[in-house]
Each structure stands twice: as structure tokens, then as C-alpha cells.
Amino acid sequence: MSVKYAKKTVQIMISIALMIFILFPMLWLLLSSFKLPLDLFSNPPELWPSKWTFKYYIQLLQEKSFTSAMLNSLIVSGFTTAISLSIGALGAYAFARFQFPRKNAFFLTVLASQMLPHMALLIPLFMIMKLTGLLYTHQGLILTYISFSLPYVVWMFRSFIIAIPYEIEEAAKLDGCSRMQVIRKIVLPLSMGGLVTTGIFVFMGAWNEFLFASAMTNMNVKTLSVRMAEFIGEDRIAYEIMFPAGIVGSLPVLLLVLFFQKYIVRGLTEGGVK
């Protein structure tokens, strides 16, 4: 009995330790975002702010460079998601359901292109955008993001379609549904979960992307992650603004992820393992 009790205690302690490891950094960021500069720099650091302040949150939301970065991120991530999903879903369907010559070769190409290191694409895409005048435009950045999100959609969504029994589609065809109707009336509704999951992943990837954005944006199309990294690039880091910015900038994706948590866990495990 006591052995069992001791075992349980150890297990709970491990759980708590792990929880602290995962949670504490976030908590520290959150607390720091409510601190005044003198608290931020107090040595030794204090866990709780001596005086809570929302001043810098308000200041942040009034800062045009931040709100416009937020809007830019929204535009770029939104369009990237919409375009990759609508085009990629069709491609995924073709790979899931049709037999055609060199299917494997095509699929391998798509898979491989998803795995290319972004650094390899950055330099040529940068030069191409520069030459075509797409550098420093939303369109250029969206096109760039499609390069990695489209193969991802094809790859991920394919596994969701495969999971739908083909018999349902065949039955629909016998009922007179055309090819497009089959997709619209059968495949899309049945794979809604997959579509949402894939969409969130793509949106999140675009929202958090930094490498391409740092090289391919100027003040007109600067996205949030670039704006955020700039805090560290300044001669004097404005910590008191930087932490609220980190919180506010992460909120959209965090809310999305926590709201669709069930879908995502399933998507992660299915998409990840298959």
C-alpha cells in the first residue's frame, strides 16, 4: 500500500515538474508584460509586478507599426491559407483517388518540395521577386508562402481523403453526381475536420514564419514576426513594449489552436504518423 502511495507521489511530482517546465516560460512572459521598467530590471527579479500596468498594452495598440504588422500578417496568412487550400485540396484528391501515369513520381516531387530547407529557396525567390518587382509586396510574400504550404496541403489532405470510404463516392456517382459534385457534396463535408486542421496548420505556419518575411518585407508589408524581431534589433530594446507585443501577437493563433484543439490533436497524430 505504502509503496503504491509513494509511487503515486513520485508520478505526481514528475507531472508537476513537467508542467512547470512547459508552463513557466509562458507565465513569465505574461507577467513581464504587465511590469513597469523598474520592475523589469529589478535585480534579483521579482515574480510578481510591484504594480500592475496595462499602459504598454494600450500604447502598443496605438502604435501604427504594430497594428499594420498585425493586419499584414492577417492578409498574408489569410490569402495563403485560402489559395493553398482551394488548389491543394484538388491536387490531394487527384493523388488520393485517381490512378495516372507517373503518379508516384509526381507525389514524390510534391513530398520532396515540402521538405526542402527554406534557406535553399530564400535566395532564389528573393532574387526573382526583386527582378519581377514583387519584392516588398503582399503578393510576393503570399506566393512565397504558397511554395511551402501548398505541398503540405496536398500531402496532409490526401491522408484525410484516403480515410473516407471510396464506396460512398461510388454510390454518389451512381446516383448521378458529377465529378465536381462528388467532391463538393461528399468529400468536402466528410473531410471538414481535415480541412479545418490543415487550414489552421497552414495559417499558423504563415503567421509565425520569419525567415522569408525578414528578407522580403519592408515597412509596407512587414509582418508580425518581423516587427517582433525588430525589438531585439534596436540599439536599446524596449522590453516594456516587446512583451505585450509578444502576447498580443501570439493571441490569434493561440486562440485558434485552443478553440480547435480536438481537431488539431487528431490532425497532428494522423497527419504526423501517416
Partner: protein, 427 residues
């Protein structure tokens, strides 16, 4: 069923349109800057130039004043200082004329000029400018005998110390060690320098200069820092850290003078070389714990009485600009004495105009300006070279290794010299 079908198709068409839109409307965004081209003889209302610099209120206000005075509009683009160089470089890479006026500092002026990016300004320079502007700053903006930018400010290091801990500021570097050892407060590091990242070369240059050494042989395009003076300078830096133990352990973490000021304002550093923002920040009651405690002195010397380090900020015109005349009007306006004074009052940048530095209003606001005329008689300019970034990055890594005791100063400078010579294709 049919209608839905059509709707589905429409979605496809829209998606396709979106894609084509991506390709089609991409070029429009870049072209705003050239709108004013070809309307030169019309009235000034159609004139517009594009300027790239920092997102700070004063510069915007200055642009408005310029437009009010001349009628030439300013399209103002901003970027953080740390990214300024890269943004300008990239805009030059495809020979574009996005900007009519760009900000450069000493080493960028050289780098950009050597690649043919900048317009020589010699024909625009007036005698008035030559007499007004500090000769070291004019020199800093030149390359191979030609003037490529007009200096407007200096961001110069001075010596700041906590007068509650130190009565007489050290006059030489050896004195600094003595003074430092007299500080008995455990919570205070006697001295700090910015050794982090790839900026340690800047402190090294000051020590090298006060030893009477030179960093570079500009005539033969060879490094000269690997000299007895250089080795002594680096040995001194390493000794401060390892032997005398007077350095703030955070020195290796400071990648900018701003980061050092932050710790200084918390009272954790007694002495340092720092930029003109030091006193204003140290006296900011919202953020500082050393309000009223910091004072300023000449940077300690050795063979030279003193030496410093600081960038000159100037304005240049890209060779590809299509509005050079108006750009020059802009440059003349913002570098005039009146605007330099306003600039200095607004953000503490040290005017390049020798007389403005002595202005009574400025002296009243910035006590540290009193020492500037003397400090600026001694060397302070940045190292200038076509490949300055690569060279100083390489040197900084070696200097950091030496001050941390990983290699000897001799070895560090020897390695740096070898690599830098290889880099610039010399033997």
C-alpha cells in the same frame, strides 16, 4: 444541382483570378517614388522625393518643415537602424531607384561608393559647408578623394562615470584600473565595454588609438592592427577582464551600447564609454536608479591624451536617383545649422557643424557637450573599407576569444590578420 455546380466553378475561376492577380499587380507597389519624374519645370507641388531613415518623430517633423520651406514633398520610409544597411544595399542590388536620399555612416559610404551605388557630391558642396562641418566627419563621408555624403551628426562615445563612487575620473587607462579597484561595492561592476556579438572591435579600436596605433594602412589596403600597439591594447583588454577582474561579466552579452546603458541605469556599472543617450537615460526617473549620479569626462588616454569611437551619420544620393537636384536641396536643408540644432535638441545627436556644438541652448540641455570640442579633436572615426563588415566581424570574433582567455592576444590578432588578408585577396 446545376446552380451549385456553377457556384463551384465560380470559386475555381476566382481562385484562378487570384493567382493571376498575384502576378499582374505586383509591380504597381514599387513605382510610387518615380511619379514626380519629368515634371521638373512645373511648380514644386509636383515634386516629390523618397527618403529612407528611422521611425522617429523628429525626422518626420523635419520633413514637414522641408516641404513647407521648399514645396518639395517627401515620401518617407522607415526601417530600424540595425536593418538600414541591408535595406539600402538590397535596393541597390537590382539597380532600382526607390530612394532619392539614403542615410549612410562612415563604413557604408565607403562600401556603397566603391560599388558605384552613390552619386559623387563634390559639385554640390559649398565653401560654407567646408568651413562649417567638422573635417573628420567630412573625411568619413568620402571615398578615394571624392565626397559621397554630407555629414549631419556624430554619435560619439564619451566617458561616463558614477560620481557617487568615483571622485576623479581616470585620465589614462592605467589609472582606470587603479580607480576601478578602489570601488568596494559588491553590487557594482567597476567598468564595462560592449564585447558581445560582433562589436568588440569598436572598443579595441579605442585602446589601439590611445596606444598610438593604427587600424589600417589605407594606402596599401592592409590591416595594421597586428602591431606592438595592437597586441598591447588587446592584452590590456584581456587583463582588465581576467587579471584585474574589473569588468562587468555582462560585457560579453552587450551587443549594443543601448544594452549597456540599460544595465548602467540600474546602477550596476560604475564607468563606461557610451553614446550621447547615456545621460538622458540615466536621468529618466521612470527607468533609472542613478538619477543625477552620472557625470562625463574625456575618454582615458595613453600615448594620445584621448581617443574615441563614433559613427558619423550623413546623407547620400543613390546614383540611380532620378531626382538628384531636389534630393540635394533636401540634404542642404537638413544639414543647415538651424536644423542641426533642432535635431540635437530633439534627440541628442551631436551636430556635425562645429559651431552648433557650442550652442548655449544645447550646452544647457546636454552637459556632456562641453567636452565635445576637445574630444573631437582626437581620432574617433569608424574603420572604412569596401568589406568593412566582413573584416570587423572576423576581428571581433578573435578579440572576444582573447578577452575571454581562449587564445593569447598575439594569437588572436595573428589569426585575424591572416584571415582578413585572405578575405581581401592580399598576402
Amino acid at each position: 444541382m446545376e446552380k451549385k455546380h456553377v457556384k463551384w466553378m465560380k470559386m475555381g475561376v476566382i481562385a484562378a483570378l487570384l493567382v493571376s492577380m498575384l502576378a499582374a499587380c505586383g509591380t504597381s507597389a514599387d513605382k510610387g517614388g518615380q511619379a514626380a519624374e519629368g515634371t521638373g519645370k512645373d511648380n514644386n507641388e509636383n515634386k516629390e522625393i523618397t527618403v529612407l531613415y528611422l521611425d522617429e518623430p523628429f525626422w518626420k517633423q523635419q520633413n514637414e518643415e522641408f516641404t513647407a520651406a521648399t514645396g518639395i514633398k517627401v515620401k518617407y520610409e522607415t526601417v530600424p537602424f540595425m536593418q538600414l544597411h541591408d535595406k539600402v544595399f538590397v535596393s541597390f542590388m537590382a539597380n532600382s531607384s526607390e530612394y532619392d536620399v539614403v542615410h549612410v555612416r562612415d563604413d557604408w559610404a565607403t562600401e556603397f561608393a566603391s560599388k558605384g551605388f552613390l552619386e559623387p557630391l563634390d559639385s554640390y558642396i559649398t565653401d560654407d559647408m567646408k568651413t562649417r562641418l567638422n573635417p573628420q566627419t567630412m573625411e568619413a563621408m568620402s571615398y578615394q578623394g571624392k565626397q559621397y555624403a554630407i555629414p549631419r551628426y556624430v554619435w560619439l562615445w564619451q566617458f561616463y562615470y558614477n560620481k557617487t563612487l568615483i571622485k576623479d575620473p581616470p585620465k589614462t587607462w592605467d589609472e582606470l584600473i587603479t580607480v576601478a579597484k578602489e570601488i568596494k561595492d559588491d553590487k557594482v561592476s567597476p567598468y564595462a565595454e560592449t564585447w558581445g556579438g560582433i562589436v568588440s572591435y569598436s572598443s579595441f579600436i579605442v585602446h589601439l588609438r590611445s596606444n598610438g596605433g593604427e587600424f589600417w594602412d589605407y594606402e596599401n589596403n592592409r590591416p595594421t592592427f597586428n602591431s606592438p600597439e595592437g597586441v598591447a591594447a588587446l592584452q590590456f583588454m584581456a587583463d582588465m577582464n581576467l587579471k584585474h577582474n574589473i569588468m562587468s561579466p555582462l560585457s560579453k552579452e552587450f551587443t549594443s551600447s543601448g544594452a549597456m546603458t540599460e544595465v548602467l541605469t540600474q546602477g550596476a556599472i560604475a564607468m563606461n564609454m557610451n553614446t550621447p543617450q547615456t545621460l538622458p537615460m540615466a536621468n529618466d526617473e521612470d527607468k533609472s536608479k542613478v538619477v543625477g549620479q552620472m557625470d562625463v569626462a574625456l575618454i582615458p588616454g595613453g600615448k594620445l591624451k584621448t581617443a574615441s569611437y563614433g559613427e558619423t551619420g550623413g546623407l547620400a544620393i543613390p546614383a540611380a536617383s532620378k531626382n538628384k537636384e531636389w534630393a540635394m536641396e533636401y540634404i542642404k536643408f537638413v544639414t543647415n545649422a538651424d536644423q542641426q540644432k533642432k535635431m540635437s535638441l530633439a534627440n541628442g545627436k551631436i551636430p556635425s557643424d562645429v559651431e552648433v556644438v557650442k550652442d548655449a541652448d544645447l550646452l544647457a540641455k546636454y552637459p556632456h557637450y562641453a567636452l565635445l570640442p576637445e574630444q573631437m579633436q582626437y581620432p574617433f572615426g569608424l574603420f572604412r573599407h569596401e568589406d568593412a563588415t566582413k573584416i570587423t566581424d572576423e576581428l571581433s570574433r578573435n578579440i572576444l576569444a582573447a578577452v575571454l582567455g581562449k587564445v593569447t592576444p598575439e594569437q588572436a590578432l595573428q589569426d585575424a590578420e591572416t584571415k582578413i588578408l585572405a578575405m581581401i585577396g592580399q598576402k
